[in-house]
């Protein structure tokens, strides 16, 4: 119970910074060693709530000291599985920051903690208190953890020894995450958390598709669904594969149908043009079709300029969202750029014709090497003219597509349609005014205006009798 601790526990301390002058001791961090690790084990392997300390305790540390620290939690429960380790581990950061006077930064082998003098003064004198508080929060938040124990290590040699083992675990986990794809799992997760604001949006989260807001990945969904299977994050049975490339699954379609109350009944997870995923409002990036080059551009929230189509992020973002399927614009989370299935129905990266420089830099590691230099940024193309020119100069794959289509057009006369699989509806009003210029036949008076400014305060229009 909270009252046992000599410190307060509240989310209000999340943003608390322990500055050098207020610091009693620094743990792990860039100038020392440390890590945090959560391991899933069998129920009978642990005694619930047990705490072990290897090395000196807080009370034995001198003011101003810097010490190594490793925090290892073992969790067990009927629903606990190794796939949840990373998710649980990440919460250590949140929970420890709830503790007043304790600052926790970063994760894994980068952790960095500070304990404030104030906290020591109020009676925080052992790691056991911190570990017990953390374990309590773990169990409260994630009731699938039926048993938990903690081992904290402050002995440098021991930390080094365990760190090398931990590194192997981190690597193995990363490996699994990287190689886990839609075809490897039977369930996806739906997230309806944002329905409190976006009443009709559902995010479908798969190993190849992060939520639009960027906050929920497949593992998060899995953990949350275990905590509360009827909660806002829930399992979706994948069902039959209908379109492997487009990412259409019977299970997803069923859910889409029931949760949108029949508004739409098909979703292709990796398609931009056909039955695209719906968008909420907090997507990090919006994709937009540029019919003139038959390609897709992407623009992120931080980009304040205008894209080659003359529009800003806000304007285009305003066209999508609200949990509706909008063809021509698509909101995504940045991490979706890193998915191997990234809009694969539409040609993946080969269809990408523009992206802001900063965003491109951020995801550059995941852009195929043969195309990376062919995708212009605002420095290369600021309008449609310069965009076309750049794409042609660099021989962007889309250029070949134009050629193919031209050929096709030439064969099937008369073809006058704009190239591309669809035409985007005219979304932006052009203040076009057609003033009928009569008197062209020479009758009546001819007025010639040149370099004139005509200001009409009020036009009175009358019905013809």
């Amino acid at each position: 119970m909270e009252d046992e601790f000599p410190f307060e526990i509240s989310p209000m301390f999340e943003g608390e910074r322990v500055r050098k002058g207020d610091m009693y001791v620094e743990l792990a961090g860039p100038k020392s060693r440390g890590f945090e690790l959560v391991k899933a084990v069998k129920m009978d392997e642990i005694k619930d709530g047990k705490f072990t300390l290897i090395g000196p305790d807080l009370s034995e540390m001198e003011e101003g000291a810097r010490c190594p620290l490793a925090m290892v939690y073992r969790i067990a429960g009927e629903l606990v599985e190794p796939d949840l380790e990373a998710i649980v581990e990440r919460r250590n950061h949140d929970f420890q920051n709830y503790i007043q006077g304790l600052m926790h930064l970063n994760q894994r082998y980068d952790v960095w903690l500070r304990v404030s003098k104030d906290a020591i003064k109020k009676g925080l004198n052992s790691f056991e208190m911190i570990a017990k508080a953390s374990m309590m929060l773990f169990k409260n938040e994630l009731p699938f953890i039926e048993k938990i124990d903690a081992t904290y290590i402050t002995d440098l040699d021991e930390v080094e020894k365990e760190l090398s083992k931990a590194m192997e675990i981190y690597n193995a986990r990363d490996e699994r995450t990287r190689h886990l794809h839609e075809e490897d799992v039977d369930v996806f997760y739906g997230c309806s958390l944002c329905q409190s604001f976006a009443p009709t949006n559902i995010c479908v989260v798969t190993p190849d598709r992060i939520s639009l807001c960027g906050a929920i990945n497949w593992f998060d969904g899995r953990a949350a669904a275990k905590v509360d299977p009827e909660g806002p994050q829930f399992a979706i049975n994948k069902g039959k594969v209908i379109d492997e490339i487009g990412g259409e699954y019977s299970g997803v379609n069923e859910i889409a149908n029931s949760l949108s109350s029949g508004e739409y009944d098909r979703i292709k997870l990796h398609s931009f043009f056909e039955y695209p995923h719906t968008s909420c409002g907090c997507f990090e990036v919006v994709g937009f079709y540029i019919p003139e080059v038959d390609g897709i551009g992407w623009v992120d929230r931080d980009f304040t300029g205008t894209a080659p189509n003359g529009l800003t992020f806000s304007t285009m973002a305003g066209q999508t969202g609200g949990g509706k399927q909008i063809v021509g614009f698509l909101g995504i989370g940045i991490n979706y750029f890193r998915s191997p299935k990234f809009i694969q129905a539409d040609g993946g990266w080969n269809r990408v014709v523009w992206i802001p420089k900063k965003l491109k830099y951020m995801v550059s590691g995941d852009i195929p090497g043969n195309i990376i230099d062919k995708i212009p940024t605002e420095e290369d193309a600021s309008d449609l003219e310069s965009l076309k020119k750049f794409l042609m100069e660099k021989e962007h794959p889309i250029v070949h597509k134009w050629a193919e289509e031209e050929e096709a057009e030439a064969k099937e006369e008369p073809a006058s349609q704009v190239p591309g699989p669809m035409s985007v509806q005219s979304l932006f009003q052009i203040p076009a005014v057609q003033m009928p210029m009569s008197a062209a036949d020479g009758s009546g008076v001819k007025l010639i205006f040149r370099n004139a400014k005509i200001s009409i305060d009020r036009v009175i229009v009358k019905k013809k009798d």
Binding site: P11, S196, C213, G231, C282, A317, V461, K462
Partner: protein
Amino acid sequence: MSKLTTGSFSIEELENVQIRIGSIVGVIENKIEEQREIGPTPKPGIVDLRDWDYKLLDRYEPVYTPMCDQCCYCTFGKCDLSGNKEGACGIDMKAHQAREFLLRVITGAAAHAGHGRHLLHYLIKKYGHDHPIDVGPSNLKMPVTQTVTGYRPETLGDLEQVLDYVEEQLTQLLATIHMGQEGAAIDFESKALHGGMIDHVGMEVSDVAQISCLGMPKSDAKAPLAEIGMGCIDSTKPVLLCIGHNVAAVTYIIDYMEEHDFSDKIELCGLCCTAIDMTRYQMDSGGKPSAKIVGSLAKELKMIRSGIPDAIVVDEQCVRADVLREAQKLSIPVITTNDKIMYGLPNRSKDSVDDILKDLVSGKEAGALVLDFNIVGELAPRLAWEMAPIRKKKGITALPDDEEFKELTSKCIQCLACELVCPTNLPISKAMKATSEGDLVPFERLHDKCIGCGRCEQACPKGIPILNVIEKASQKVIREEKGMMRSGRGQISDPEIREEGVNLVLGTTPGVVAMVGCSNYPDGTKDLYTVANEMLKRNYIVVMSGCSAMDLGMYKNDEGKTLYEQYPAKFLKGNLINVGSCVANAHITATAIKVAAIFAKRNVTANFEEIADYVLNRVGAVGVAWGAYSQKASSIGTGCNRLGIPVIVGPHGSKYRRALIGKPYNKDKWTVHDARNGEVMPIAPAPEFLLTTAETIEELMPMLAKSCIRPSDNNMGRMIKLTHYIELSQKYLGVMPDDWHIFVRGETDLPLSKREELLNILETGHGWEIDWKRKKILSGPSMKLDVSAQPTNIQRLCKEA
């Protein structure tokens, strides 16, 4: 011709010919008809949103505690309405109180709309009808205007029709004040809500017009910091003081000073919202504001009495009625620049600068009414420049010298008459006594609480100029009155709202607290600081505007930093925002509208009711007007109310003697429809009220947290909101709130660190069934947690079952 629209265009056949059509009158319906998705209520009149008002007023019942039992509106009376009596016209107490409140609201709304009209006239003249509206990265340029009227203004000229609408509505509302008409209090209430909504349209027009034309920051999280406080005024230079709320004239002064190399030589400073807008002028591309802020209304008389200003320029709204009288005593010439304040001065608008200057410098005239800004721009700085040496030579100040000071304080006979009339009952007599014994500290403390109204002086039988004594005694602390305020940033941009969306959804941002209104109250700066700091630490977004924004910049922490220097200014969790002067309050309601447009893609055009319904049920925002409540603040608050945003007023706000309070025990009032199928579902009483009073900041803090709870909260949002509600109640009131459990729909709503303890209370104290192994609530809550439910108060928005 059906495509004829207003605006500018060219015609291909005509070489370099620009045609502009101002307005179209006749059989072609206006622009809005052509646009897509028009909601049901374009340009609503008094009756059009009445159903929505009735829904609100049914749940949030008006409560009146009249200040005065009589009606003195006409010569039938005055009529005693006490004891359920009717007046000569048949009106009863309730209706009359509601009418009184309506009058307050439309007075405030008219002040902003009048301001907007004045500003627009001048801006159109200077920048033209076609000057584009630019508010920064936003898809909805004017969310409030579009939601209410259906217009989507693109240019300055487009704003005229919006104000036409506002003015028409205000006229209609004012007409209903007339004796012997409306008999139902509820319809006066509905009209007041209408007036409040109209006010936000007028405010939006005012601020958007000036942002677009005057180079003010456009949704800029990095708007510069400006100096604030009497202590930062350099009185060795000639000092030019501007007072009011309409910056139009002052921009000419700033321009003139820059062009004529006066900027470094004359100290330009301001009081009230004009001061805020002076620091926004031409700051959209960075830089440091040259003008300084003295403070809010409470500093007006104090600043004049100090004798520091060498010339004063006033415009409109919260400007003391005695500025000319007070200034005249100290040989400070006053220029009035707006027909709302003329002080009986001769109109010199057509005279030459030199002529006016001569009359003012010589003291022949105490001031001048000059409505031509070109003249004001040149006259004011030159006047300060010439007056400074003259006034310095004479050594003019109202403050007594040391000798006089001693004499004055010893004259006090401790009759307490001053304390009786002091609006905050400050211990003046005690301080007088202490001072005569050589202890200045009581007066220094009192100075901080004194709102500078000057009522004490008139009550003093010994004729002691008490305010002067307070100021003289506090010279040391006044010199230290230096702070920083973030200059007003304008709207909240779309990308910011999208970015913040994740936090709102995941509960990392528990809510939005808007601290608005006037700051005319004792300990105001410290109270604002305490509340804002607490809520910021808890990751609430704190939004400031107007006088509150100024006052917040006056209080510093141990390291000498104001909150503006401690917290970033994006629309993100734990950020502190100043939207701008009082007309910028429209950006706060606009943000709630944008949330509906962005996340739910609701059509906002002419669709007020649906948007307000969304805000009431989903957007956890609350307004606070902590200080004395001016008419403008009452219209701002009422506009928030109609949009579904609750407002808490401080002790002074209770003087309007009206509240809109829900009764949590009336279960049948706390239901909504589920828009998915129209089913009626119970909700927690949230928000519990639309307008209520808090006596102390200790009482206020948990109320703020509770006021951010909404029916649609998902479990993460509800958990964090409940966490802060419980914690703030424990921290400031020392107890668990007695109603926390009624907001619990399931175990995942429970605060994380207290989950077991709370489950225990639910089981033993409230008889709920708990599965302790799974830590699950089996029975007890009166409603279900279903994030997909779509709460609405409007049946027509429901799908058929």
